[in-house]
């Protein structure tokens, strides 16, 4: 979105060719190179960028992992994965060319000599491949590995570069498990890399529709006057998935839905919906406004948490007619687990724009369908003329995934001699209007990191403010005394009744998805 301050002088030959910041030559070092994320997302995303001509020719990938492997073995593994997971089919000649720039570096994460060897290797790559000393370190590892990696990168001098070059680090979520651990993580990162060098990735922000929220709000004058407490009755954000915990029980048992989804993805979406217009499109202007939203979230007392937050766990049921196990029966899950697989919240943003507008959020596993969307429910028209008996509100829906698009529900007269009024939907589908498939979120985000554009990455204060909001809820849930109840819902339902009650007590209901 913006040109970062360290963006080089513009290349006169680029004028008119591309509206985005230009990615710079670099070496991408992936820690956790033999893991799932590298195979399913990162390398397919880089391949797609190369195939579309968006990657500068001088980009080298170095996989850093513990297992012994040769460059060729690593390339073969990645080729197989890319053929399986890439959004476009792999062309042999492009892969061959792309693969020439992939290398494997075997080392333990805590092994000092491995980093010295890495530094030497990166210098050689700079000389032979024109990567100009630019390094992008991607942490596709669990957070407990961050500290040894960061320390060793610093000791090997890899956090610093010569003048005119840069070193950046991309960190995958979770960014801590609470405020203290997030602060500690940020401290550890800051010991080696400055905030400007740090890119905290939240792949929701790389989605086309998430980026379009700002365009919808700030490129269309019609919504601006309505986007406030005077006209908005409520906002709902839903992130539903049919999947259960799958093979993530080890992580999920400790995280739960609140930490896994609300602290990051859903609050990020809320920020985009609720933020004030930024002064410009620079990364910090946008993030300054986003963090103000999180800071303005009303913090609840223990008793208020019970009234405004519902946690639940799926029990056995059926998805699309297929019977499925309850959470506690899933592999590697504690049979007495108290982990939340569903959360519904009623939030308030205590600022001038959103005072008294309830924000309802729900996120859950094993719900009837997979869908993420945001709906803005407008207040009723005055109860005169046609509106005496109307109950439906005008609703603007932003569909994040799947079937990305925007719809607006309005009222219309049913043809005939009587004044019967029914809701109708004006619907915009990305897939219908724009035939071309959107790039994957990781493609956009990797390109942004290479270009020095941090707009779509979370800043330290955003992360910490989000934890400051989440922590009291988690504390209340884990209190020894008077902890709010853990509800249960049958897999394939829309969550427990308590989640419906959260809205029903104010005469509202969840939007039907």
């Amino acid at each position: 979105m913006n040109r970062a301050t360290d963006q080089p002088e513009p290349n006169p030959l680029r004028e008119g060719l591309s509206a985005r910041a230009v990615p710079q030559p670099c070496t991408i070092v992936i820690f956790g190179a033999t893991g799932d994320l590298t195979h399913r997302k990162l390398v397919p995303a880089l391949y797609n960028l190369a195939a579309d001509g968006d990657l500068p020719p001088a980009v080298v990938i170095v996989g850093f992992a513990r297992r012994p492997k040769t460059d060729d073995e690593f390339r073969r593994d990645l080729e197989e994965a890319t053929r399986k997971f890439s959004r476009q089919s792999v062309r042999d000649e492009i892969w061959k060319n792309f693969a020439q720039s992939i290398f494997y570096h075997q080392s333990e994460f805590g092994e000092e000599s491995g980093y010295k060897a890495l530094a030497e290797r990166l210098d050689d790559i700079d000389k032979n491949h024109g990567t100009r000393g630019n390094r992008l370190f991607y942490f596709a590892v669990s957070p407990d590995q961050f500290e040894p990696i960061l320390k060793n990168l610093k000791d090997a001098g890899l956090n610093q570069t010569c003048e005119g070059s840069w070193a950046r680090v991309i960190v995958e979520k979770p960014f801590g498990t609470d405020l203290d651990t997030a602060r500690e993580l940020n401290r550890v990162i800051r010991n080696s890399f400055s905030e400007e060098q740090t890119y905290r990735i939240d792949h929701f922000l790389g989605k086309e529709t998430a980026q379009n929220i700002l365009v919808l709000r700030f490129a269309n004058a019609i919504f601006s006057p309505l986007w406030n407490t005077h006209y908005v009755d409520q906002v709902q954000i839903t992130a539903a998935e049919t999947l259960g915990v799958e093979n993530r029980a080890g992580y999920y048992e400790h995280a739960g839905a609140l930490r896994d989804m609300v602290q990051n993805h859903l609050l990020q979406l809320l920020c985009l919906v609720a933020m004030e217009p930024p002064t410009d499109l620079s990364a910090d202007s946008i993030r300054d406004e986003k963090v103000k939203v999180v800071r303005s979230l009303r913090h609840w007392s223990r008793s208020e948490i019970a009234a405004n937050v519902v946690r639940a766990q799926y029990s056995k049921g059926a998805i699309n007619g297929e019977p499925v196990l309850g959470y506690r029966q899933e592999k590697n899950v504690n049979p007495d687990s108290q982990t939340d697989t569903f959360v519904a919240l009623r939030l308030f943003i205590d600022n001038w724009r959103w005072a008294d507008v309830p924000i309802y959020m729900r996120v859950g596993k094993r719900l009837p369908k997979s869908a993420t969307d945001i709906s803005i429910h407008f207040k009723k028209a005055p109860p005169v003329l046609f509106n005496k008996d109307l109950h439906d509100l005008n609703v603007l829906v932003i569909r994040i995934q799947p079937d990305e698009g925007i719809s607006l529900r309005i009222h219309a007269k049913v043809p005939g001699s009587s004044f019967r009024i029914e809701p109708v939907k004006m619907d915009f589908h990305y897939g219908t209007s724009f035939g071309k498939a959107s790039p994957e979120a990781y493609e956009r985000l990797l390109l942004d990191a290479m270009s020095g554009d941090a707009t779509l990455f979370a800043r330290r204060d955003e992360v910490e403010e989000a934890w400051a909001f989440i922590d009291p809820i988690e504390d209340a849930w884990h209190a020894k005394k008077d902890a709010p109840e853990l509800f249960f819902y049958a897999a394939g339902s829309w969550g427990p009744e308590a989640a419906d009650d959260l809205l029903a007590r104010n005469g509202r209901a969840w939007r039907r998805l």
Binding site: E15, P57, G431, T432
Partner: protein, 352 residues
């Protein structure tokens, strides 16, 4: 739906006065999950006999990625009788989400005789309201240009590679632009043809450390296919405009010189070679050669830099395709004004 254009038939013959009713009927009679989509009005104008069928086929492919209301017109200005015939059809494709078919409407017109003067009114009556209006003019422009038409056009698409007299055609376009109060964006497919090569060359100079090479360029070599000299000249014009080179001297049609702001000469050699419209571009300084060449497999470019004659490690980049569907799709993806194109044209207008 009876009138889909999958086999590139013109669809359902209709009376001109009943096109709207017939289109409505077409959708009412459609079966299954179909969605009509339209982001632009795209009028295609040709005077070539048989162009209706050919352009219907092109539209079937273009609408796959660019939903539009297509208005395809074939004009036979020399015909004795005055006649207007019309057809309606729809191009349907499976959308990227689910199995829903996404359809673009097409209205086809065959204009004969002096009825061609009716062009603006025929087009105006059938535009999808509130959507931008693009015109793809496939022939050379003739005076008088329809002033009323230009006032409505948002983007005028043409291919200068087909022009016999570039300067005369450009003058007509500029007068059309004036009629439209400079609102029309001129979109030359001959310029679009250069997109990937420009992109491939530009990336050599992204890093500030390579900028100094731009001031040291002393030679430019462009290989072009027969019939594509204008494409090569436009490429040279682009470099000249962006790097502030002025025309110095034309020794022969395919050998000319620019002079850079420091007074240094840049020798330009255009070489006719069979193959792709632009098969190779070499930008040369005293120390290094930047080379962009078509790879053997056709739709990829090999880009490399190094000292002339030394072993290089080329990288591959997309080359794009030189067919009308690809060029149109590329052009429709862009948007925004084409100032850089106009600057390039102005640098080499006398060489075209």
């Amino acid at each position: 739906m009876p009138a889909t254009a999958e086999e590139y038939s013109l669809g359902l013959p209709v009376q001109v006065s009943k096109i709207d009713q017939e289109l409505k009927k077409l959708w009412q009679e459609s079966e299954g999950a179909m969605t009509r989509a339209s982001l632009i009005n795209l009028a295609v104008y040709s005077e070539e006999a048989g162009s209706l069928s050919k352009n219907t086929q092109l539209m079937a492919n273009i609408t796959e990625n660019h939903a539009c209301r297509a208005i395809v017109i074939e004009a036979d200005c020399k015909a004795q009788d005055n006649r207007v015939e019309a057809w309606i059809s729809a191009h349907c494709h499976i959308g990227s989400v689910g199995s829903k078919q996404v359809c673009s409407e097409q209205i086809s017109f065959l204009l004969k005789g002096s009825c061609t003067t009716l062009l603006p009114s025929i087009v105006f009556s059938h535009l999808d309201s509130d959507l931008p209006f693009y015109v793809w003019w496939q022939d050379e422009l003739r005076e008088p240009v329809h002033p009323r038409l230009w006032a409505w056009v948002d983007r005028l698409i043409y291919d200068s590679q087909r022009w016999e007299d570039f300067r005369a055609q450009m003058r007509l376009l500029e007068s059309a632009e004036q009629e439209a109060n400079q609102r029309i964006v001129l979109c030359d497919l001959n310029w679009t043809r250069l997109d990937n090569i420009r992109f491939a060359l530009a990336q050599f100079f992204d890093h500030p450390a390579s900028h100094h090479n731009l001031a040291k360029i002393n030679e430019l070599r462009i290989d072009f296919a027969p019939g594509f000299r204008s494409t090569a000249v436009l490429f040279a014009g682009w470099l000249a405009a962006q790097l502030n080179w002025n025309t110095n001297k034309a020794e022969a049609a395919n050998n000319f010189r620019f002079i850079n702001p420091s007074g240094q000469n840049i020798n330009v050699e255009l070489r006719e070679r069979s193959g792709e419209p632009i098969s190779e571009v070499a930008v040369i300084t005293a120390d290094v050669e930047f080379l962009v060449a078509h790879a053997k497999c056709g739709d990829l470019l090999e880009v490399s830099r190094g000292k002339p004659g030394e072993q290089r490690m080329p990288q591959l980049m997309p080359a794009g395709k030189n067919d009308p569907v690809s060029l149109m799709s590329e052009e429709l993806m862009r948007g925004g004004p084409h100032h850089v194109y106009l600057h390039a044209v102005n640098r080499v207008r006398d060489l075209l």
